[in-house]
Symmetry: C2
Amino acid sequence: MSSIVQDAIAAKAASRLLAVLDSATKNDALHRMACALEESFDVLLSLNCEDVHEAREQSISPSALVRMELTREKLQQIAVGLRTMAALEDPVGKVLLRSELDDGLELQKITSPFGVIAAIVEARPDAVTQLCALALKSGNALMIKAGTEIGRTTRAILAAFAKALQSTQIPPHAFTNVEGREAIREILALQDYVDLVVPRGSSDLVRFVSANTRIAVIGHSDGVCHIYVESSANREMAISLILDAKTQAPATCNAVETVLVDQGIANEFLPIAFQSLRWHGVKVRGCAATRTICGADVELVKATEWHTEYGDLTLAIRVVPGVDAAIAHIETFGSHHTDCIVTEDAQAASQFLRRVDSAGVFHNVSTRFADGYRYGLGAEVGIATGKLHARGPVGVEGLVTYKYVLSGSGHCVGQYAGANARRFKHELVESAVSE
Amino acid sequence: MSSIVQDAIAAKAASRLLAVLDSATKNDALHRMACALEESFDVLLSLNCEDVHEAREQSISPSALVRMELTREKLQQIAVGLRTMAALEDPVGKVLLRSELDDGLELQKITSPFGVIAAIVEARPDAVTQLCALALKSGNALMIKAGTEIGRTTRAILAAFAKALQSTQIPPHAFTNVEGREAIREILALQDYVDLVVPRGSSDLVRFVSANTRIAVIGHSDGVCHIYVESSANREMAISLILDAKTQAPATCNAVETVLVDQGIANEFLPIAFQSLRWHGVKVRGCAATRTICGADVELVKATEWHTEYGDLTLAIRVVPGVDAAIAHIETFGSHHTDCIVTEDAQAASQFLRRVDSAGVFHNVSTRFADGYRYGLGAEVGIATGKLHARGPVGVEGLVTYKYVLSGSGHCVGQYAGANARRFKHELVESAVSE
């Protein structure tokens, strides 16, 4: 038996204990984890420094370096994050439904943890701590494979957590550090032990994970977001939303990639928008009509290119005849992530919001708002563009499922069949009440 | 382009229209469908008679024949089922969460349909009509592949529905009949168009579907249910529950397969239980201890056989040292479907209900209650033993997902970053309110 299978078996056993812990025990553990990080500041920073030094020699990208580097401020934020998680409501044990099926026969639908969650995250220490916090809060055991570049840092974080949890009821295998490049393939084959896989990283990683496992996956691979500027749009608002959605953080999945402009206002709107975008360093590509209006500096977008997620300061613009065409474009080329209409016309807005089939449908706001923190969900597991279970930004509530608990006093199904069959009452007792 | 891909494209287009229909239109359509069936009684019965005749010549099993055969009473029940579906609450457009993120920036989480559902069902006319009703009510387009044995019946049902919906806003491709044995493989490859696959039939079918598609699947393959008779159990109650769970419908997935008996009462309980079971025609297999107590008529269960779903009047019995061992057995050999404890000890019951990780955890009731109708969910899509999205019996609410709708007046993320960053309010306005 490989060591990763042994780890998975231990994680599964730990998950059974974690599932029945009360909220106070879990929250106390989160506070201890925060303290442990604070006490280990110096060790963590020094080991992280070694990781960063080694990564720099391997000519890693500057943005990746920033993400992997720990600072005293980042560590403080992480500790705050753990304490914030402790303050959130416990997602486990919520009674979603309570129904009296018959006299003395009560059905309850109660939230419960998944079991074992395997997270595959990029080289970011804050992703490691956040997943630990999310898993513990939701009563799941976590197997975590972080980017190899932060090997020393990850080991040190998990060691600090392990020490902090020694004198608590949290089982030692609540968190398992999985190492080695082959580990991802091994994790994806653990369908007998792992209940959910959470990949957090590049689109390629998420695609690879989804294509190579039979375990359920929460994640998204593409963020091809649109802003449609309808003919009644407030022009200034439209430009400021486009600039925010494109330039505020162009590499993020909720940045806009394509702007659709109603043909009724294209001649008037596009030249001004084009100027603004150029001033902000945005390279504009577009359809033939956009090129005609804005000039030959605009590179033509081929029909096959409207799917593109640029992830940088490049923006595609297309002139469309109206809201139907805009929706059809988004349907054809979008990734069901987040799409926005800018309009002053309530009818057009309502049409768009109802008909566009995306995890986020926005009216007069930047696509960049699609985010668990901004939505107020607390820490974010990830953003799901699939439709099953969780969609859009997923918080800790995405890491629980539910079970049906039925209690009676000897009730048999045979009593409800045949000539003198008893009839069910199906009386809702209460609903959506926490335990 | 194959005809099934063309069908899928048409279904996708239809799904966009279905998604935005109001409740009244959908409910009116369900009533028209019910009337259409009533008006087509004679034609349906005569075509079904041809199907049954042909199937009988191919020596189909008697139970399958019963399931495929239409009678006037069955058709009446089906019509009632359609009207009951019309009376249920609309699962689409429910506001699950409403939060004011900041002044004038409102987030809503609203239920919405999946899009296109592909159902693969056995040769049962009532399964065809039920899936049509579930899909329409939940605003999804349906591609349905029914058992080839009821080809004429299925065509006639869908023709009656199509005629009934001609003068309504329901698009013609709301329901698509998919035919031919190769069709299943083709459906499973339609990940670009189909959002959810619902297999209803044998375990083998569900296993095949899950293993051969990248589309999300709601279904279950195994029903290895347990009853654990704890030492404080009311003996009579235990026996009547075991008899109900084993004999009331042995072929169903929620029938019991293994009874675990606490060793503290095994000597006293097992001989009586064994007698009762024999009187009811149940063949008992068991562990060595069971065999010692009940005699050599009990066939020994090998260590590898505890996973077995007998699906007939065979029952396995194992003597276990206590609740921990019972839970461990269920964990190792169960299928996370439905498991029951019989006990008068509240503490033991609570332990079992909290710790057993199954879709249904029962106390002093028959496992046969695990069913959408008995749970009061209305029509049943199926029973899910996976944990993602839906678990246990799945009603019409299992066929919707949600989307986040965010409305503002030009809000940019840049305003919430940097030195003078605005802060989010995240004030819940209301929650769990229907539109």
